[in-house]
Symmetry: C2
Subunit: 702 residues, 2 copies
């Protein structure tokens, strides 16, 4: 689909220049230096040749259609230049020039015009404000970067061109091979979703890494990333994570869900591994492009020094990985082959004077040991150490059965050996901690790949009833759906709502109470009163007709005094729920990624301890259980330390029903069930209070 | 004090060898290559000269006393060799040879003999099993490392010699200067405490960094480290943090305090900055050796690319630092001097084509701005970027008024510029995240240095009474001090213990209750029953004589059935406490670092949420408040979200009293007040239950 962009048979450099230091010079020079084998067409109104290549005054003068036009002319000339290129029949445009959306409204308008023009002519547009595109397997470097990468399996998508230049310099030092590098710049047309879809299919790409500051379309991103991650590892760094303020929200769920939580949930759903620093992005890419993910968490550590072995074991334990217990067979084999002073436990200490052969012996044993899922080989530069030779021997002995990561600790002398290792397909790091982090990323990917099939349960529900209630609320322009109707909607989705009714007089209230039985709870019903207890609008544990009648009068009296302007629907009389554990389940619709479900234990656990979990809807039963387990307070539900255990499956069931409801009704923007009272296993949880928010101005019909 | 070790005027290399690859060869070669200006005395029974230096068959043949003997002879020859050296009058011995304590009991015995011999002759011993010692300011490299470091201000103490070799290679690449490097090996004599004390006084050392696996004497370490940190920054990496199991403990406090928490508390007390990876050790050292700590948290970021600027802002926010708001004056100055497209907010974006002068302009403005406490300068290698020249210009424009850290992102091309920066005194990093981590470490150090004076309050207490009770318990061999006597001790230390008394009959119980007033609580008193509720040994809310008499009979009956072997002291009758917030305060005596105080909210907060804080005793009022605030549940005490606020000062007071008690009585090994019931401000907390553990076999008298 992007063949014209990254496998062009001809490239025009519009704005090519003979002057060193100019962008149009750098692009042409890179194209030529990288050994591009297609036709190069420099376009410059004043030159007949540049860098020894015949130049043309404009692209139409060349006379034949060109696959890719790389445009590096001044901002004001871009529109006309692109128009000419499109008319001359180019297949794709890479627009390098800056000065568009990033400079303000005028630039944004110009950018939009150009993008719409290209789109109307079916020409894909990269940029503007980008570094260009590299495809090492096609010997294409159509960027103004200072370096050309070596050929390899890592493809890079970046919203920052400068980050690509830094990354190129970093990969040059470490000999990391690159397949494609695409600078998406302002993303006027082509964006991260297009690139993910294309790179997912690209056979030369083994790993996709990327740097993003924003995502154009959250749902499309999740789908594209999931599809890509299914085929190959995807690692992204998302910047701007902490800066964005939280939107003002009326629900608990909303106030607890930051922007970063939405990205975290989206990445987790899609199987995207998140890198939280520049270096980890490449550290992870290195491991993931060299090996398949490990089958498990048991890691063997081979080292020529005790200290770094301990550091590595520490890091493994902190990362949730395990220091493998070697099988008896490999321990004995090692004991027979290594010097007596060597440690044949794990870490395997091959001693300070270990030569390459001794490393090979230990490495072989660890590779053959079925009790080992991955191997970390540590080397420190001691007196007798032969780093270069050890690197070669290790690389030659890789069986490919399980991931092996090298840690060659040091700088000046070790860097060449690390580069040598990388070139030979063994990921190499400068410290145990970084190797362990990369291995943890591999494990995370493996866990996602091996997750159970995502089967979303569809419960039989009364969707018509919910639809009617929501439609009526929207017609009457009510943004807040209060307790009564929220509960009716939840009842339609199979939630257990206590019996009850709305009363507009004390007699009616008593009638309802007599019908449903005592004790009852009474609560004011008003679309204008959200925090009912703040207005003395709730009375609990009413045991007889007299108490109910009194409560009705008291509630209405108090409300008329304290909130005289509030529209009163009446007083809601409801069967009082049995005691149990209070939990909150809710949903906030993220502008980017859609509905995010929330779970937390009620009261202080949510409000003070902020002990909550989020997950993108729709959710599966497995995912709902994972969500529950990921809270610190989970043990309380499971009955630890004398706490009464509750029906955990019933909470997971509730989350799935909410998931179905908010997927069925995109009109619902926020929802809280607070609290849901959960009893012992086998009992049904009770919705004690609930509310739900619709958008302020929703079109009449869906 | 260690002059003979690291500023010797003569060095004997015993075991010097002409054979390349031998340790005795490497040491001699390093000594000569580093340009050592003192006398070098190779000792080898078979050679008359080695590497052009006259050799002696034994050290006594040299005829004059030598300051430092570096011993690298086979393990079995060490004892005799050291004896000869000491007899020949050496001032210090650096014992390189391995094969001692690290190999088992026999080696440990031999090591101890050698150490005791040296100590008896007042000769300090480094090692065994060590790399040796380096002092660049004395041109001394008495190690068998492969490299000699350049001269600088960072001194290194390491328990792992191999880590030093890795570190040497790393500093070679980054041009980090070293003052002293000491490999303490098995620490038979000289250890981290000796080194800290000596390096604290050493004028050539600007920063002390270290790698430790164990600490010889915890209390001495804290004192020495605190003394050193008072003068210069101290950074340690402690390995083996997660591996050690927790000791079986009877108290809550004990079961929650891992070994790592003790190290964390000790480091925090002493002002030691903790590095949690190999790279952060040097990253921190680099920043701390180049600049004084910043005055505050406001950081200006200068960058030639938007993306890395955002990454840096993210990292600052996550680290608890602030993106400074530039003063109006510097914003206008920047607006006047930078191109129109540049951003003069913070991050200050000097644009992709920024030349060294533009960097200098922005750097100058940030240095002059009083609203800025520290500066991070980011450079990515874009088309027009001049890394080497920018490095020089930055280094030349450092005003020294505030810390400035450079981030030159990349590898091959950037590494030399980073090294250039470091050489010129500007710390340089490869990613924003690493620079921010280093800046956070500087801020941590500044916070410790500027902490209020540590004034430990001494409360007037009845120390004699506590002493008598403890002495009596110890005499009778009781390890567990139950509720009754624990409360008596606490009462002597000013705690509010409810009125009560021990009863051995139901009549006596009624007498006590009548005297103190109803309602009362009754609890079994037995040294053999720790978890009283597990044996139905507690009755609450007894309102009259009949209930008290019934309770006495029920408790004694149940205990006689369920724990017939338990020795019964009687039943404790106590005034029932008012309601309030339950908290736990406790102490566990760490084998290394002494008494560690604990605080947590009662019940599930401690048991399930593990929301506790630890601090080494003795504690100040400030530190006690910091401890309370560091729990996640602190807001509950402060009255957030409808929680009743409680007397926080009273809890801090309780922690200080416990601190005084456990400092006065080193016999107390564990202590729990669980719960302490705390009421509203102005009320006194009540000790509802308490217990205390003495060592199993304590000598008769203190």
């Amino acid at each position: 689909m992007l063949e014209k962009l990254w496998k062009p048979s001809s490239v025009a450099v519009i704005g090519a220049s003979a002057t060193k230091g100019k962008v149009g010079h750098a692009i042409l020079a890179n194209l030529l230096d990288a050994g591009y084998e297609g036709v190069v067409v420099p376009v410059n109104p004043k030159a007949s040749q540049i860098l020894g290549v015949r130049a043309y005054p404009d692209i139409s003068s060349y006379g034949k259609p060109v696959d890719l036009a790389v445009v590096a002319v001044p901002t004001m000339a871009v529109k006309e230049t692109v128009r000419q290129a499109v008319k001359a029949g180019v297949g794709a445009v890479a627009l390098i020039t800056a000065g568009f959306k990033e400079t303000g409204d005028q630039g944004a308008i110009l950018e939009k015009e150009i993008a719409e023009y290209c789109s109307s002519r079916n020409v894909r547009l990269l940029g503007p404000n980008c570094l260009g595109v590299i495809n090492t397997h096609h010997k294409l470097n159509a960027t103004f970067a200072r370096q050309s990468p070596r050929k390899g399996k890592v493809s890079v998508i970046s919203q920052s061109g400068a980050l690509l230049t830094a990354l190129l310099d970093y990969t040059a030092m470490l000999h990391i091979g690159i397949a494609k590098m695409i600078s998406i710049g302002n993303k006027a047309d082509l964006n991260e979703v297009d690139m993910l879809l294309a790179l997912a299919e690209d056979e030369e790409t083994g790993v996709i890494i990327g740097y993003l500051e924003s995502i154009t379309d959250g749902e499309a991103f999740v789908k594209a990333a999931e599809r890509a991650a299914f085929r190959k590892p995807v690692v992204f760094m998302k910047a701007g994570a902490t800066m964005a303020g939280q939107k003002a929200a009326r629900s608990h769920t909303g106030s607890l869900a930051g922007l970063d939580i939405a990205y975290g949930s989206a990445f987790a759903r899609a199987g995207v591994i998140r890198a939280d620093s520049f270096e980890s992005l490449l550290d992870y890419a290195l491991a993931l492009s060299s090996h398949s993910a490990p089958a498990g968490k048991r890691v063997a550590v081979i080292t020529n020094a005790g200290g770094p072995g301990i550091m590595c074991a520490d890091a493994l334990e902190k990362a949730g990985l395990a220091v493998a217990e070697l099988s008896r067979a490999s321990s004995s084999a090692l004991a027979a082959k290594l010097p007596a002073a060597a440690s044949v436990g794990n870490p395997i200490d091959v001693l300070g004077d270990a030569d390459p052969e001794r490393y090979a012996t230990a490495f072989g044993a660890a590779q053959d040991d079925d009790a080992v899922d991955a191997i970390i080989v540590i080397l420190t530069p001691q007196a007798m150490t032969a780093p270069a030779e050890t690197a070669v021997v290790l690389a030659e002995n890789v069986s490919g059965k399980k991931p092996a990561l090298a840690v060659f600790m040091g700088g000046e002398e070790m860097m060449p050996s690390r580069a040598e290792l990388v070139e030979r397909g063994l990921p190499a790091y400068s410290s145990p901690e970084r190797a362990v982090a990369a291995l943890r990323a591999m494990n995370e990917y493996a866990t996602w790949k091996n997750r159970p099939p995502r089967l979303v349960t569809r419960f039989p529900v009364n969707i018509r009833r919910a639809e009617r209630i929501i439609a009526r609320r929207i017609r009457t322009g009510r943004q807040q759906v209060g307790e009564y109707w929220a509960k009716e909607i939840l009842r339609a989705y199979g939630f257990n709502v206590p019996a009850g009714g709305l009363a507009i007089s004390s007699d009616e209230a008593v009638d309802v109470a007599e019908r449903i039985g005592y004790p009852v709870v009474m609560k004011v019903a008003s679309p204008d009163i959200i925090h009912k207890t703040d207005f003395n609008g709730v009375r609990l544990g009413l045991a007889n007709a007299e108490e109910v009648a009194d409560a009705f009068d008291l509630i209405t009296l108090r409300i008329s005094r304290r909130a005289p302007e509030a529209k009163l629907d009446g007083v809601y009389v409801e069967k009082m729920a049995d005691r149990g554990r209070e939990v909150i389940i809710g949903m906030i619709r993220d502008a980017q990624f859609g509905p995010m479900l929330m779970f937390g234990l009620g009261g202080i656990f949510v409000e003070i301890m902020k002990d909550v979990a989020f997950h993108l809807a729709p959710i599966t039963a497995d995912e709902a259980m994972t969500m529950l387990r990921s809270t610190r307070s989970y043990d309380m539900l499971a009955g630890a330390r004398g706490q009464a255990s509750v029906d955990i499956d019933a909470i997971a069931d509730g989350l799935q029903r909410i998931s179905q409801l908010v997927t069925d009704f995109p009109q619902i923007s926020e929802l809280d069930i607070n609290p849901l009272i959960v009893g012992p296993p086998g009992t049904e949880p009770v919705v004690v209070d609930a509310r739900l928010t619709l958008p302020s101005s929703w079109p009449e019909s869906r």
